[in-house]
């Protein structure tokens, strides 16, 4: 087919993006769990039959980077001939191209006439999938079998009908089957919307032009990305960081990067990283890939269409059995939310040596995962919830870091206090910005948050998985580091907050499962701030004054860091 003109190609590209956005709106409006309708922890995507992503929208970078692997695996394992109209496949296996166990892909083939023309998909973090912890974030798991129900690619719908055996297996193994039922239907509903939009596109342009447009968009993105990479100075750039512990042992685990920029290609060599950890901070291969892609996208032109084409010039080298590529049956639930932002920050720090004007200082690097469940005192029904809190983002050469943002893998929203209180037996005593938590600098790091919760039901079982509570998000080029986060607890009757290790004897103060909190107990979740950029002495006085006026930094910090006297 001859080349499609730029205007038509743009229209088709935007139609694909808008279809994904429409999927997302449907998902938000029809899902049962706050993680979806408030947190937006899902991504909607469109693929060609060769498993290349041709359409996506403003969803989670980790899923947008990993989806092509999960879909490719699904298509190859089952075979293209196995798909029929009305089929939906479900799959969450981290060893088959998924980020971590809670992330479920639902995938639907789109037929036009008798021919399979594309796939529409939705990857979403189901908040409860069984395993050893309510909320399915087993922070001290030592193998994948403890993390929940693992599904290889299997049909959940066939020719529009329920595959009841699969549904029964799923619902039997999830602690909150009604919620899983609702959320899975929301996911499948979003696929049906996308299928309708794809039919409209296929009717309007014809299957040949549709296929050709996908190929041209992929090649266009690849050419543009290669052009962008060519502008980055050739060289070898190194950086490293650690996960402060793994939930099972109190030892840090290191990720080490050698980033090679060579002409129009980037090679991310992670082979010097530590062996995989006992606990679940290991990253799957696709998490490491997604983190690497994300960092490169951050320093290249934001208008590059994000599809599989733009990932082609970014190559990874890893060793299976290391922190950055967990080997079966190693656990990995924390790798997606905790290790991913660390990996992304490491790539960013390496790139900052080449293109300092485009890089950002380190961000909070943790989703402050706080999982809980129990029997609701008002309804008598069992509930679970996966709660996360945003932290400060790193400053750049041009602006301060954003405050209280989901880590870079997520692009999710914080849960409002009202929603938490409406659905679960918690009372929010405080939800505020943490003054002075952003690293100082010419451009200040973003602030973290402080959330104080009191248990107002008889008992809640909690688990947690946080990092950057002893290490700090680093600054760049003279900028200061951000403040660490923390997780503290005060039992009813105690006078002060202490760590979970001090009160309950957990190996890790911030990575543990199944602690029973009683009515009146309180928890403080404090997220880290982001790193600063540039020397604090270069921050304009009026900016410092404004920070003090808004309560973002204290008068003492203004004096000590910036030499500012109010």
């Amino acid at each position: 087919m001859e080349k499609i003109d730029s205007v038509t190609l743009s229209v088709i590209n935007n139609a694909l993006i808008n279809a994904c956005r429409e999927m997302g709106t449907a998902m938000m409006r029809t899902s049962y769990s706050p993680i979806f309708n408030e947190g937006l922890d899902f991504s909607c995507i469109i693929f060609n039959p060769q498993a290349e992503m041709i359409g996506q929208a403003e969803f989670c970078p980790t899923m947008l980077g990993s989806a092509q692997y999960a879909v490719k695996w699904t298509i190859e394992e089952l075979g293209l001939d196995s798909f029929g109209p009305g089929d939906v496949i479900i799959h969450n296996d981290p060893y088959r191209g998924q980020c971590h166990m809670p992330e479920h892909l639902v995938l639907k083939p789109v037929f036009h006439g008798d021919e399979l023309r594309c796939f529409v998909g939705n990857i979403a973090h189901l908040g409860e999938i069984g395993g050893m912890a309510p909320g399915s974030f087993a922070a001290d798991a030592t193998e994948v079998y403890q993390e929940g129900l693992r599904l290889p690619p299997v049909k959940i719908m066939q020719r529009g009908e329920y595959v009841k055996d699969v549904w029964r297996i799923i619902l039997t193994n999830h602690r909150t089957p009604k919620t899983s039922w609702g959320d899975l239907h929301a996911m499948i509903g979003s696929l049906n919307i996308a299928e309708t939009r794809m039919h409209e596109l296929l009717d309007r342009y014809g299957p040949e032009m549709f296929a050709s447009a996908g190929e041209q968009l992929l090649d266009y993105s690849e050419r543009w990305m290669r052009s962008e990479i060519s502008e980055i100075p050739n060289g070898v750039y190194r950086f490293e960081d650690c996960m402060e512990d793994d939930g099972v042992t109190d030892q840090p685990v290191w990720m080490r990067l050698k980033l090679i920029v060579k002409d129009d290609e980037i090679i991310a060599d992670w082979t010097d990283s530590d062996p995989q950890s006992l606990g679940p901070v290991n990253a799957t291969f696709v998490v490491t890939a997604a983190a690497t892609y994300s960092a490169v996208l951050h320093v290249t032109n934001k208008d590059i269409p994000v599809n599989s084409g733009c990932y082609r010039p970014i190559r990874l080298i890893t060793n299976p059995g290391t922190l950055v590529n967990v080997r079966h049956p190693g656990p990995s639930v924390g790798g997606n939310t905790e290790t991913h932002p660390h990996l992304q920050n490491v790539v960013m720090a390496a790139l900052s040596q080449a293109v300092p004007e485009r890089a950002a200082a380190a961000e909070a690097g943790t989703a402050c995962n706080f999982l809980f469940g129990g029997v609701h005192p008002e309804t008598g029904e069992y509930y679970t919830n996966y709660h996360f809190d945003g932290g400060g983002w790193g400053a750049t050469a041009e602006h301060d870091g954003n405050s209280v943002m989901c880590p870079v893998n997520g692009n999710c929203r914080n849960t409002p206090a009202e929603v938490l209180e409406t659905k679960y037996p918690f009372l929010t005593l405080e939800y505020s910005l943490r003054p002075d938590s952003g690293g100082d600098g010419k451009f200040r790091g973003g602030l973290g948050s402080k959330r104080v919760l009191r248990v107002v039901g008889p008992e809640i079982t909690v688990s947690a998985l946080l990092d950057r509570t002893r290490t700090h998000p680093w600054g760049l080029f003279g900028g200061g580091q951000g403040e660490s986060g923390s997780l503290l607890v005060k039992k009813k009757g105690d006078s002060e907050f202490r760590t979970f290790s001090e009160v309950y004897g957990t190996v890790s103060a911030t990575k543990f499962t199944r602690i029973a909190l009683k009515e009146g107990d309180e928890v403080v979740i404090s997220s880290p701030g982001g790193g600063g950029y540039g020397p604090p002495a270069e921050r304009p006085a009026e900016e410092v004054a404004d920070d003090v006026r808004q309560g973002l930094i204290s008068a003492e910090a203004a004096r000590a860091s910036y030499g500012y006297e109010s």
Partner: protein, 65 residues
């Protein structure tokens, strides 16, 4: 010169095959090539290229910790 090989495993087989260069688990078919006197498997031909250009000169043959 390499060639594509189908893993040809039974549907119930749960074993995993890793690309010698990038470390990705290979679902069904792999690219097999002789490199440095060894027969290695890759997820795609471009990984063979990357292995020859990068891993082999650095002495980083496929390995796991």
């Amino acid at each position: 010169m390499g060639e594509w090989i189908d893993k040809n495993v039974a549907w119930y087989d749960q074993s995993m095959t890793y690309c010698a260069c990038c470390g990705l688990v290979i679902p069904k078919s792999y690219w097999e090539a002789e490199v440095g006197g060894n027969s290695l498997v890759f997820c795609k031909p471009d990984c063979e290229r990357l292995y020859r250009e990068h891993r082999l000169p650095e002495g980083k043959k496929n390995g796991s910790a």
